[in-house]
Symmetry: C2
Subunit: 338 residues, 2 copies
Amino acid sequence: MSSLAEVSRLAGVSVSTASRVLTGSSHPISEKTRQRVIAVAQQLGYSPSALARALVSRSSQLIGVLVSDIVNPYFSVIARGVDDIASRAGYATMLSNVDRRTSTEIARVQTMRDYRAAGVIFAGSGYVDDPQTPDLLKAVRQAQEQGMHAVSLTDRDIGCPVITPDNRAAAYDITDHLISLGHRRIAFIDGPAGMVASQQRRDGFLACMSDADLAGGAECHPGGFDYEAGHAVAMRLIARRPLPDAILAANDEAAVGALNALRQAHIDVPGEVSVAGIDDLRVAQFVGLTTVSLPLYELGAMAARYIINTPPDTDADPPPTTILSHRLIPRETTARRA
Amino acid sequence: MSSLAEVSRLAGVSVSTASRVLTGSSHPISEKTRQRVIAVAQQLGYSPSALARALVSRSSQLIGVLVSDIVNPYFSVIARGVDDIASRAGYATMLSNVDRRTSTEIARVQTMRDYRAAGVIFAGSGYVDDPQTPDLLKAVRQAQEQGMHAVSLTDRDIGCPVITPDNRAAAYDITDHLISLGHRRIAFIDGPAGMVASQQRRDGFLACMSDADLAGGAECHPGGFDYEAGHAVAMRLIARRPLPDAILAANDEAAVGALNALRQAHIDVPGEVSVAGIDDLRVAQFVGLTTVSLPLYELGAMAARYIINTPPDTDADPPPTTILSHRLIPRETTARRA
DNA sequence: TTGTAAGCGTTATCAT
DNA sequence: ATGATAACGCTTACAA
């Protein structure tokens, strides 16, 4: 690895001059030395140490993304959005799986801090009444004091800007769609207990049902965000009969689980029961699932842009909340009630 | 951000002493000073600068993973394997999407080098006769000379150890399974043209067919690794009739595409046609797809372990190749021929 | 057992 | 227009 010192020596100039040339500083430099330095650097294959740079500038070109689990497509799409913007701007992406553990999030924020990351992005939802939130908030504040940015992609009170879809409205809208199709008795498969995102989606569902005077037809079942949860709830529904008019799952994966349970039981979807989800992941297209498209990629991209473009210590004081819009995507798993 | 200097000052010792205490050096230290330093550090919330550390040690605790696209579950599972091992060992994961572009891989290796990463993992397959491979090889060599490790998760001649599944054997085995079920005319949906992994899988298919004296019943169709490709090929097969006995896709996603095309055309799977894939991603479980399970998570985990545990410049000279085993997973999309 | 000082590779402040 | 030199925060000989 050739260093600046090496380049400057071969070019017969001081390190400062070499630095000025190579960083494209506005400092005046004679054309001949500029050429010479560039030539030597080029020929040596010189590439500046991001570490040394970050050490003096007190900030690296790293952006951290904290996801629950990168295998979950919800998060990998977000991560893709982040990395696309980051790499385009010369930044690199640091990824960390936190498995929904707040304590792990706290630890990772510290890691990002140790590398003087330009910012951290919290992609996962928090828990209702999480006793560790204050600690996370403190960790975030310390990171910010050090000049780091933080962004949350879900509604979370951790002292940083929030860029998020409106989970409640998304659930409300898809519920409304189901109702407009003539469905009256709708079963909702809840997300993981205690998660803020689960709660918001359920709230949206219930609000819509009661706005339509259908509160009596609404039933919530403890579920989860995974295939198995959706499958299990649907199995129970099937065993219990009569079936509801429609089943809405808190996310696409659970909806697909429910859908498969129904199909395995030879129940016609959407003939006998309509099924819908929320997220619009790729799998939803595969199975023709009616759902709500959330701007996941854009969420990650916007967060990255924010981090890259906001100068340190410039963050607005009450951290702003940005709501990105969603879109209803009707497909083949829903139909007008017979 | 408190620094070592600060800690040492408050503890009334020199920075070296503080450093020795905090790094757990074997250098003898009196118990009282040790306690004092630890207390101060603790109370100050001191956390060492990973940057400064990396700068002097000439190596950071960062592991880079180069994937084609993190949204593709094939890669996100690998990335998860890497990050699990990495974070457990105190390392952080740097992720980069390269969209199968060798030039981007080269650029990213340089980025990892700039951060003095402990190692880079190439998760994606290369191309047959890729003119840029020599450049990549050179970039890898330079990285290695600098003390970085490199690992490829596919069969690739870029001067680094390879840890990979046996694509050819995997395809061979699943083909053999299809044949053992009585299928004679089998259509193979190829992966992306020019990719080594595509070629290996097709080779395995063809080899098995010809070993079974069924070369005449083998037909390969240009396809891809995505849903759309599988869907399109199946549509063409359907339009053309008669249908083959079975369809094997180069990977699960294409297989699911084919499966859906068949189902949409009301063709009974596995009644009329059997369908199988390769990879065993989560979606394969969802749809009950017969496939071959590849140790993707383990691939990432092993690569990370290798990077973490192999001391610099200790790499074996002809870089070793490690083949991890696969497993046939029969599910509901295949059945004995009618 | 503790401290001093050099050095890792940059950038930035002053001089010249 | 160019060059010393002091940080940045840490580890590690080398001294004491």
